[in-house]
Amino acid sequence: MQATTGGHGPLNYLESFGAPAHEIRPILLALGWLSVAVVVIITALVLIAVLRRGRRVEDMNTDTGSVVAGRDTGALRWIYAGVAATVAILLVFVFWTVTTMAAIQTPRAAPAATVEVTGHQFWWQVAYKDADGATLFETANEIRVPVGKPVRFVLRSADVIHSFWVPLLGGKTDMIPGQENVAWLRADAAGVYRGQCVEYCGLQHAKMAFELRAVPPQDFDAWLKQRAEAAPSGPAEPSNNETR
């Protein structure tokens, strides 16, 4: 299985190769660095606090004189300051979250294609739709998209809950029987992206993966036309070369 990203992990979403992953990455990284900073600061405070006045005492009943009420005003100021800083930072991220959510709700351009993906135990049924929503043809476990153009995905399930995820391109969307969820992805570089089912769906959940191939738009259009003309009617079967 070829990862388009070379040695880079095929599911590592800290690198983005399209949208909405591009929009998600900044806030994800910011939250990550913020988290690291907070942990480092608090750990340092705890370590310093412990090391500077920590003592070994054999019998604490000989240590009775050490009990003090303490001057609490200074101490309480810590709490107020810390909480104020926390609130300020959180408010920034709440705002940033909502703006990012708005940005990834719909693609900036109109989708170049609509693909309906139906989750099965344990394979992916892929149906390419025309403008009226009729099925042109079906494939299994492989999705082909044009580079640089958003593609609309209609997500369904034939049996249990699955989840559709191509980490290098965007976040995940569940495939829930009885409802249709809509997602969109745009690959900005040609290549093969790995997709994975990411909601536990049974025995071989671990093996339920698919490939998303991004090809130049002219190649995509040609391929689509060629497959539509050649298509037999009826749903696809899982292919033999099941990807891992």
Partner: protein
């Protein structure tokens, strides 16, 4: 005072403690012996320790399940376990740790401690207390019986339909889980009722709400949370069971069911639950840290408010487990925002703890090592939670090992570290012996380093895209070395837990005898012997401050004096004092229940009833249901000894 006939009132004598009084109380309060005593005991100290031991056994079982999984995942494409075995293991590991360990261990500490902390002699409902433990034990056995039936739950602890429905899971696996959870819910509910009423009614005179140890606030708050949340999961499982047995249409898509109904009901319970399993541990640390820092907790009132606020807010965020299910934009925004806000009370507690160390004079004992490292674990858990609160970030992080790292920092870093701090702190009180400090420190470093080696890299594993609940992964994914680190760390941590157990064993039988107050701690449980006598307090203590045993040493805080050796004598049978809810004014002399076998019999009948439901033995189930009700009838039969029936003559 009510216009009561004299025979329904009592004027307790006020006397000092004498050896004669202690002897009288010993005779009154000693429980039954032999089998009848063991099966019928209602002594909260014995029951608390039983809860702790039982929960520890489940911790070990869950730990073994985890180690098996870690062997399988140590490298790519391993075949140590079959897919079916792995799926069963991760399901049982979750069920065991989250339900059979996490709350029961905290309940155990609370059941042992509550009466001692508030100056009472037992819980408000001693027989119900026994019943809670028996039902907990039998519900755990019920769920684990699935191993012997060859039908182990395999759909994860969260058990999403449609996969959990009969159509996709025809065996009895889910039914063991569903009925076992309803049974466990009865234990949780009765335990919660006991904590709430005990906290509200049995506090010593003078112990107003702002003078109670923080663990009391933690446990009582979550008990109220349980009363509000547990019905959601009991209902969810009952509806699932109906779908599986009787063809109802709650969750399956044919004929109008909705899989998301399960997710709502489940998470309406399970989100509050994750706070329920940590708030008492946070309370324990809030009480332990000040002892070793030789000063009162900084910001006690703020910490108490933060505890209550966290529980309340915890009911408003459940949809953050469902961000990927196709929820409308407005809903997503609200639940994301609420999930950020719930961080704020936690921040209050963190700064209070750090300030307590900073402005204290810390003594480095094993309990302190756990309580102080707890703060760092708490913060790591908190920040990874904040990351998942943001919807766009969560759409990548959800269902990956990142969330697994987060939840282990909460359940191990907060719950287990708090429990281990509590173990080293209260072991002397429970057993009358000291644990070995040197062995304790070695074990601590194994647990601390092992845990962090296992789970800190796991954040990175998740960011590299490893999904949850997969029995294997390909080499090309690049996760091999990270998984190996986690596996190694988990075994180091397991070794540390083993050392803790060895310490407990050697301490229990060979440990140095413990004084009443080996840590020079301030609260009431340290005023009695280690272990306490059966009756806890010889006379009713009356308190004048938050730190009765530190009075006179704290300067400005308490201007009154608590009275521990001279007070109301309640010795005409098993008795304890009930005080008014708000002010702690003496109200009532309560007659405390004797040992009783009815809780045990009721548990047997009720468990049998659930087993009969499991196997569809309708008439047996009906019969056992009636037997259970009869047990309840005899259990509650009004008794003169409990002051429940009319009396004809004056006392």
């Amino acid at each position: 005072m009510p216009e009561l006939p004299a025979r329904y009132t009592r004027e307790p004598a006020i006397e000092p403690v004498t050896p004669d009084l202690r002897e009288r109380l010993d005779r009154i309060w000693e429980g039954g012996s032999g089998l009848r005593g063991w099966f019928g005991t209602v002594d909260h100290k014995i029951l608390g320790i039983r809860y702790i031991i039982t929960a520890f056994v489940f911790l070990l079982l869950g730990g073994i399940e985890a180690l098996a999984m870690r062997v399988q995942l140590a490298g790519p494409d391993q075949t140590f376990l079959t897919p079916e075995q792995y799926n069963e293991l991760f399901s049982m590991h979750g069920i065991t740790m989250i339900f059979l360990y996490a709350l029961p261990i905290l309940s155990g500490f609370s059941i042992f401690l509550f009466p001692l902390l508030i100056g009472a002699r037992d819980m408000a409902f001693p027989r119900l207390n026994a019943f809670s433990w028996w039902v907990f034990l039998f519900s755990g056995l019920f769920i684990y019986a699935s191993f012997f039936a060859g039908a182990v739950p395999n759909a994860g602890w969260f058990n999403y339909p449609p996969y959990a429905l009969k159509q996709f899971n025809p065996g009895m696996n889910m039914d063991f889980y569903a009925l076992g959870m309803i049974l466990l819910g009865i234990s949780t509910t009765t335990g919660s009722i006991n904590f709430v009423i005990t906290f509200l009614r049995l506090r010593a005179p003078g112990m107003s709400f702002n003078r109670t140890p923080v663990i009391l606030w933690g446990t009582t708050t979550i008990s109220v949370g349980n009363l509000l949340a547990v019905p959601a999961v009991s209902l969810a499982f009952f509806l699932l069971w109906l779908d599986r047995q009787y063809g109802t249409h709650f969750y399956g898509v044919e004929d109008g069911g909705k899989p998301l109904l399960w997710q709502h009901l489940f998470w309406l319970f399970a989100h509050p639950w994750v706070y329920i399993i940590v708030l008492p541990a946070m309370g324990m640390v809030s009480d332990i840290l000040p002892v070793f820092c030789r000063r009162p907790l900084v910001g006690y009132s703020l910490v108490v408010l933060a505890t209550v606020a966290t529980m309340i807010l915890g009911f408003g965020v459940w949809v953050h487990h469902m961000f990927a299910t196709g929820i409308p934009f407005l809903s997503l925004s609200y639940f994301s925002g609420a999930s950020f806000i719930i961080t704020i009370p936690s921040a209050v507690s963190v700064f209070a703890w750090v300030a307590t160390i900073w402005w204290g004079r810390p003594v480095i004992k094993t309990a302190f090592l756990y309580a102080s490292s707890f703060i760092v674990m708490f913060v790591i858990a908190g920040v990874s939670g904040v990351m998942t609160a943001s919807v766009p970030a969560d759409l990548q992080l959800h269902d990956t090992y990142f969330v697994l790292a987060h939840l282990h920092y909460t359940i191990v870093g907060i719950n287990l570290f708090g429990v281990l701090a509590g173990l080293y702190f209260w072991f002397p009180k429970m057993t009358g012996r000291m644990l070995d400090e040197r062995l304790g420190r070695i074990a601590f470093w194994c647990v601390f380093l092992g845990f962090n080696l296992a789970f800190l890299p796991m954040h990175w594993t998740g960011l590299m895209g490893m999904p949850r609940r997969i029995y294997t992964y390909p080499d090309a994914a690049g996760w091999g070395w990270l998984n190996m680190l986690t596996t190694v760390g988990s075994f180091v941590m397991a070794a540390g837990i083993l050392l803790v157990l060895i310490n407990v064993a050697q301490g229990r039988w060979f440990g140095r005898r413990a004084a009443p107050n080996p840590w020079d701690a301030p609260t009431l449980e340290w005023a009695v012997s280690s272990p306490p006598p059966a009756y806890n307090f010889a006379v009713q203590p009356v308190v004048a401050g938050r730190h009765p045993l530190w009075e006179g040493r704290l300067g400005g805080e308490a201007t009154g004096r608590s009275s521990l050796d001279h007070g109301p004598v309640l010795d005409r049978g098993k008795e304890q004092l009930v005080t008014s809810m708000l002010d702690g004014e003496p109200l009532l002399v309560s007659k405390v229940a004797e040992d009783s076998l009815w809780p045990f019999f009721a548990t047997l009948a009720m468990t049998g009833f659930f087993a009969a439901l499991l196997y569809h033995w309708t008439w047996t189930a009906a019969a056992l249901g009636i037997v259970t009700l009869l047990c309840g009838l005899f259990w509650n039969w009004p008794r003169a000894s409990l002051g429940q029936v009319r009396e004809v003559r004056d006392d």
